[in-house]
């Protein structure tokens, strides 16, 4: 697999974690996203937009699944970190990293998704709103709430 595809798989998987709140469902959603993307790759006009295109496919698939009765996103809690870390990932400060992820995953799903897209994926608010198919002002409110929640946690910790 070329590094380019591996990078997209990683990004889609991490975003899928924000949508599904569950590593197994995130894997399934990632797989389905790439299958659909592969089938519809002719519809990608601008390769520079690949990331947002993939994320939108993931959102659409997740919405389809949710409307068919699969449960909504749930908080990941500590499960994710335990499940994904390998021995060589025991970096200095890993506990802090785990805390950060735990806190991100503990946010309400929409807040977690918007914060993730803007803070981690470095998307503009408009791009994040486009991916999540929500109003930009709504996205802004979620981002503001998420930021305050995260700040309170970090302040409480220190």
């Amino acid at each position: 697999m070329s590094d380019g595809i591996a990078d997209y798989v990683s990004r889609v998987y991490r975003f899928a974690l924000r949508l599904t709140g569950d590593p197994h469902r995130a894997e399934d959603l990632t797989q389905e996203t790439f299958l659909r993307a592969w089938r519809k790759r002719g519809s990608l006009r601008d390769p520079r937009a690949t990331r947002t295109w993939l994320f939108r496919i993931a959102v659409n698939l997740w919405k389809d699944q949710s409307s068919k009765g699969k449960p909504d996103a749930v908080a990941l809690e500590t499960e994710i970190a335990a499940g994904c870390a390998t021995p060589d990932q025991h970096l200095q400060g890993q506990e802090e990293l785990q805390q950060a992820i735990k806190k991100l995953s503990g946010l309400p799903p929409r807040q977690s998704q918007v914060l993730y897209l803007v803070a981690v994926e470095q998307m503009s608010l408009a791009e994040a709103a486009d991916v999540l198919q929500i109003n930009k002002n709504t996205a802004k409110v979620h981002l503001s709430l998420a930021r305050k929640q995260m700040r309170e946690t970090f302040q409480a910790k220190s």
Binding site: I5, Y13, A100, L115, K136, R147
Partner: protein
């Protein structure tokens, strides 16, 4: 234009402040300890979450492999029947562009044009991927060209529903 003050912090952090306001707001940040602290915390939050997500939320090797197999062109698989059946069960076959697949009723060559729902259109372009319905089996045929895969598609025999 509204006066630039702490009110614009959310827009600034969200990258949603109009371009000509950004420099003005950054001047404000330089003079406002509250906004300055927020901006510093926001940057640290982004860095921490990026590091954390990359370190702790890697997709499994199995997922990577599975997606690679699904999305990269593959050579025609060997022709043993069991393999062909597994291929059909997987529902997906990678084919070269420009081919039309016709389901041959009962496995015999058809003298009339196949019905529309028995035809799978393959778009023009590089190697592509075609979904087969559940009720057919695809059997790859070696035509001696490594760049072209021809797959015979047979309906699954169903005595109950045999009428045309």
């Amino acid at each position: 234009m509204k006066p630039i003050d702490c009110e614009q912090l959310d827009d600034y952090l969200a990258g949603d402040l109009p371009c000509d306001w950004v420099a003005v707001f950054e001047q404000h940040v330089g003079q406002c300890p509250a906004c300055s602290a927020e901006v510093t915390q926001w940057k640290k939050l982004g860095t921490d979450l990026q590091q954390a997500s990359q370190a702790l939320e890697a997709p499994s090797a199995a997922l990577m492999e599975s997606i690679r197999e699904s999305c990269e062109p593959t050579r025609a698989p060997p022709r043993e029947p069991t393999r062909a059946r597994r291929l059909a069960a997987a529902v997906a076959v990678c084919l070269t562009a420009g081919l039309w697949l016709a389901v041959i009723p009962g496995g015999r060559e058809s003298s009339r044009p196949p019905k529309e729902d028995h035809v799978v259109a393959v778009p023009k372009g590089p190697i592509t991927r075609v979904e087969l319905p559940d009720n057919v089996i695809g059997v790859p045929v070696d035509i001696g060209d490594p760049d072209v895969t021809v797959v015979w598609v047979y309906p699954v025999y169903d005595p109950a529903g045999e009428s045309d």
